[in-house]
């Protein structure tokens, strides 16, 4: 037993050594991760027909954008209409041999269209739902013909077999007539009416069935429902209609502007109302209001605003449409167009009024609308893009997710690095705003470095690219907030060297690359 005691000191030492609680091992590492990369290039606007390149590679601001585009076929709205037509013989009874036609009746169906008068239309879509009740105890053959309803010269006809009545229960047959693509003469059977659709119903007994007896109490019943009729051509008088509305136009490219102002040169700006319909009318622009980044508004002024001007009919046929256009030109003399555009609004509100046939049916029913006929208001701008920026604030927002801080690698400190490649003649400072999932700022970081404006090249046909690296130091409080950050807003405040003659060229672009240069604490 005494031998065991000799091991006790050794055992104690070993147990203490092994049993010591071990704290974690950690060290710092420096890792560079990309966060986002975005390029704001002038060529991105080409597809928008906003910018064009001149022969000297300079950029011409050429914007043609529709403010509204009205489909006046909505004025010719034929409501769903149901017509019930019945037939009975004039005698007390009549024996019908197989194959005997005993109904041959033409009806006119009139559509209530308020004060519109339609002589001719072409259906773009729509159908007639027909239900036929047969009172005789043999099958009948029902033939429907729509006189004046033609497609490629052929009159619309359709034949259906209606089952025999069973005792007092009539045989019933329902079917659908598709009217798509049919031209409809709406002048009626005599050609001197309007808004009228003719239908001819013929009924005969089954030639292979038995002879039957029909009495004057047997009633043949037609139920016709015209449903969802729309048109892509109409001729007549479209009624006297007045439309007033306000529409909004958003320019996405300017939504990234968050402050400052610009100076533009040589502005040529026009509002043009274009009438592609053969109808007389009047138009009026009631207001054109611009709202910028700060919510401030400015209203465009011009002597022709807020008063009606006449709109002549378009010169139009099936083969061609030449719209009538009414331009309103804005320049520095007749309007406040310069401050209006320098306001850098990203949202525009346009009020307008349109009167169709304000003087009644003076065309004697010659109003005509074709498939391509539109009533549009568009604005056109055409001027060289020479932008003088004065504390112009441009923002770009990137979605990010740094994830939870984990034990293996935790961010200790570091910096965001904004690498820029700039070929705009504009430079400035930048800051990063970190937003949480609710869009609230959890921190703002400012860099002491600047983005330099690009200098002109030797050939004077482009600006030379300038690279900058802006460091945004991440302090401890920002590190603690990183897991909550969901968006980073890059806010760039730019100025031009001068407010004039800052011509932009084809190569103008700003590449923004945001990196992290984090010191990570690794822990095992």
């Amino acid at each position: 037993m005494k031998y065991y005691r000799q091991f006790i000191p050794l055992l104690a030492v070993l147990l203490v050594t092994i049993g010591c609680r071990k704290e974690q091992t950690s060290w710092d590492t420096n890792w560079v991760f990309p966060v986002v990369k975005d390029t704001l290039t002038i060529s991105q606007f080409y597809n928008d027909s906003t910018l064009e390149v001149n022969a000297d590679n300079s950029i011409q601001f050429v914007l043609r954008r529709d403010i509204f585009d009205i489909d006046l076929f909505s004025l010719i709205d034929i409501p769903d209409t149901t017509i019930v037509q019945t037939f009975s013989i004039a005698f007390s009874s009549l024996s019908l041999a197989p194959g005997t036609e005993y109904v041959n009746q033409t009806e006119e169906h009139y559509f209530e269209l308020e004060d519109a008068v339609l002589f001719k239309t072409r259906t773009k879509s729509g159908q007639a739902l027909i239900t036929v009740e047969n009172p005789v105890e043999t099958a009948t053959i029902f033939e429907v013909e729509l006189p004046g309803v033609t497609k490629n010269g052929a009159v619309f006809t359709q034949t259906e077999i209606v089952p025999a009545a069973q005792g007092n229960t009539p045989g019933v047959r329902s079917f659908v007539l598709d009217l798509t693509g049919y031209t409809i003469d709406m002048r009626g059977e005599n050609g001197n009416s309007y808004n009228t659709l003719q239908s001819k119903m013929k009924v005969r007994t089954d030639p292979n069935g038995p002879a039957v007896v029909i009495t004057n109490s047997d009633i043949v019943k037609f139920n016709v429902k015209f449903q969802d009729l729309t048109f892509d051509y109409a001729k007549g008088y479209f009624g006297s209609v007045e439309i007033t509305d306000t529409t909004q136009l958003d320019l996405e490219a300017l939504q990234s502007v968050a402050g400052g102002s610009v100076a533009l040169e040589g502005i040529d700006f026009n509002l043009i109302l274009s009438n592609g319909i053969k109808v007389m009318g009047q138009g009026m622009i009631t207001q054109l209001k611009s709202t910028n980044y700060s919510g401030a508004t400015i209203t465009l002024t011009h002597p022709q605003l807020n008063s009606y001007f006449n709109i002549d009919p378009a010169v139009a046929s099936w083969s061609s449409i030449t719209p009538f256009e009414y331009p309103i030109a804005f320049n520095e003399v007749n309007s406040n167009i310069n401050p209006f555009l320098a306001h850098m609004g990203s949202s525009y509100e346009i009020g307008y009024g349109i009167k169709v046939n304000p003087w009644g049916n003076i065309s004697a029913g010659a109003d005509e609308i074709f498939p391509g006929s539109r009533l549009k208001l568009r604005f056109e701008a055409d001027f060289p893009l020479a932008v003088g920026a004065d504390n112009l604030i441009i923002i770009d927002t990137f979605a990010v997710d740094f994830g939870e801080q984990r034990n293996a690698f935790r961010v200790e400190s570091g910096s965001f690095v904004l690498k820029t490649k700039n070929t705009f003649p504009l430079g400035g400072s930048a800051e990063l705003i970190l937003l949480d999932e609710n869009g609230f700022s959890v921190g703002t970081i400012i860099s002491s470095e600047q983005i330099d404006p690009a200098p002109m090249n030797m050939l004077v046909d482009a600006h030379e690219e300038v690279e900058n690296e802006l460091i945004f130091v991440v302090n401890e409080s920002i590190v603690n907030e990183l897991p909550a950050v969901r968006e980073i807003v890059v806010k760039v405040r730019v100025n031009s060297t001068t407010l004039v003659n800052n011509q932009l060229y084809d190569n103008a672009r700003m590449i923004l690359q945001l990196l992290t240069n984090f010191k990570l604490k690794a822990t095992l």
Partner: protein, 410 residues
């Protein structure tokens, strides 16, 4: 599970080492029943200084200065390896057969955890310094490999009670196995860290069997001795010994591999953590997104910590006060370099012997060791280190502790 953990602790606490450097002695006396407790704990590195590995062992913060001190020069490869093991050996004092009274039997059980790694300079830099200094450059992580294996052993064998030659056949019960091999590895980081072009031929293997013993195997331990004669100036005995020489069969191994040129879109912070956290549930998803294929297989692996040692050992009961010992040791893995050793054993008196040795090779370079051995009554105790300076200086490259106890029961 708890039983095995307690067993581990007991083995590591009480055990001492026999077949490592503490001078192997040759003793032709015949003893009765004996219990040997043998323990070994060491790690050795080629470049990783103790100031850094101490922090890994005890915890703490690795400063840039500490990391710089252990950094490799260009085109260098670093190595690290070690073992923590213990054995209880019972040697029967009774003859196994009446016909051969010199033949006795041995029973042993033990636990061992062996690990090793070799790495390139860039692999070290990437792990401890990050990618910032490698942007726009190519990092080479080829010739990087690592292994870790733990296992229990239980063996039975025979020995010659007089010349002490022995052979023991052990059953091995694998705890866990992890292996990483990067044969070809080039990573080119873009200037912004946004892209990594990788030219890789690498594999990761890990045993994943749900059972506690994830593998089964067999290994032999042996000792062969021969008296040295007819060599002027040298007396004593020659010993050839082997330990844990065998193979292990793993029933379920998960293997991830890639052998192609790939372009990755950089790393995110979370992905870096996923890579670092092998057990993360996101690891499989992420490793798959990196183009790695995964498979499961069963197969046989060499036990990487197997040891073969040959050399002259000292003779117990020798009249010489000072005896020399020397030899060479190899381990059965590609990271370990053959290690040569030589030393002197001094018999101070009847109950105390001291010694010292120099070694070169293994997982590192030169080391100097010392030991002390005492014997009283039926107890023999020894404690020593193959790397004495490693306990004292932060600038050295490893630590070593060897303990041995022999209790002669009758």
């Amino acid at each position: 599970m708890r039983v095995f953990n307690v067993l581990n602790l007991l083995l590591l606490c009480f055990s001492t080492e026999a077949q490592q450097l503490l001078p192997q002695s040759y003793d032709t006396l015949i003893y009765g029943n004996q219990v040997h407790l043998e323990g070994l704990g060491f790690y050795q590195t080629s470049h990783l200084r103790n100031e850094m590995s101490n922090i890994f062992l005890r915890g703490g913060y690795l400063s840039d200065e500490i990391k710089q001190n252990s950094r490799l020069a260009e085109n260098q490869n670093g190595r690290i390896g070690g073992e923590l093991s213990g054995e209880v050996v019972f040697k029967s004092g009774n003859p196994l057969t009446k016909s051969n009274e010199n033949l006795g039997w041995i029973a042993k059980m033990g636990y061992s955890n062996v690990f090793g790694a070799q790495y390139s300079k860039d692999a070290f830099d990437l792990l401890f310094f990050g990618n910032q200094s490698m942007l726009g450059e190519e990092a080479t992580i080829a010739n990087t490999s690592a292994f870790n294996l733990s296992f229990y052993k239980a063996g039975f064998g025979i020995y010659n009670r007089k010349n002490k030659n022995s052979i023991v056949l052990n059953a091995l019960f694998g705890g866990s196995y992890t292996g990483i091999d990067i044969d070809r590895g080039h990573l080119t980081f873009s200037e912004d860290g946004g892209e990594v072009e990788a030219n890789l031929n690498m594999g990761i293997q890990q045993s994943i069997s749900p059972s506690y013993f994830q593998g089964m195997g067999a290994a032999i331990d042996f000792e062969l001795h021969a008296a040295i004669k007819d060599i002027p100036g040298i007396s004593g005995a020659f010993q050839l010994s082997g330990r844990n020489l065998g193979v292990m069969y793993f029933s379920k191994v998960e293997s991830y591999g890639v052998n192609s040129e790939l372009t990755y879109s950089g790393f995110t912070l979370n992905e870096l953590s996923d890579l670092a956290n092998y057990s993360s549930s996101d690891f499989d998803t992420y490793i798959d997104s990196l183009g790695f294929s995964s498979s499961q297989f069963s197969g046989v692996r060499w036990v990487p910590g197997g040891t073969i040692q040959a050399g002259k050992i000292v003779e117990e009961g020798s009249e010489k006060v000072v005896q020399s010992f020397f030899g060479v040791r190899v381990l059965t893995n590609i990271i370990y370099r053959p290690m040569a050793f030589a030393g002197a054993h001094v018999t101070v008196n009847d109950w105390l012997a001291l010694g010292g040795q120099l070694t070169f090779g293994g997982y590192g370079g030169f080391r100097g060791g010392m030991y002390a051995q005492t014997e009283f009554n039926n107890i023999q105790l020894g404690i020593g280190s193959e790397d004495v300076v490693g306990f004292l200086a932060q600038s050295t490259f490893g630590k070593s502790l060897l303990i041995r106890g022999v209790w002669r029961l009758d």
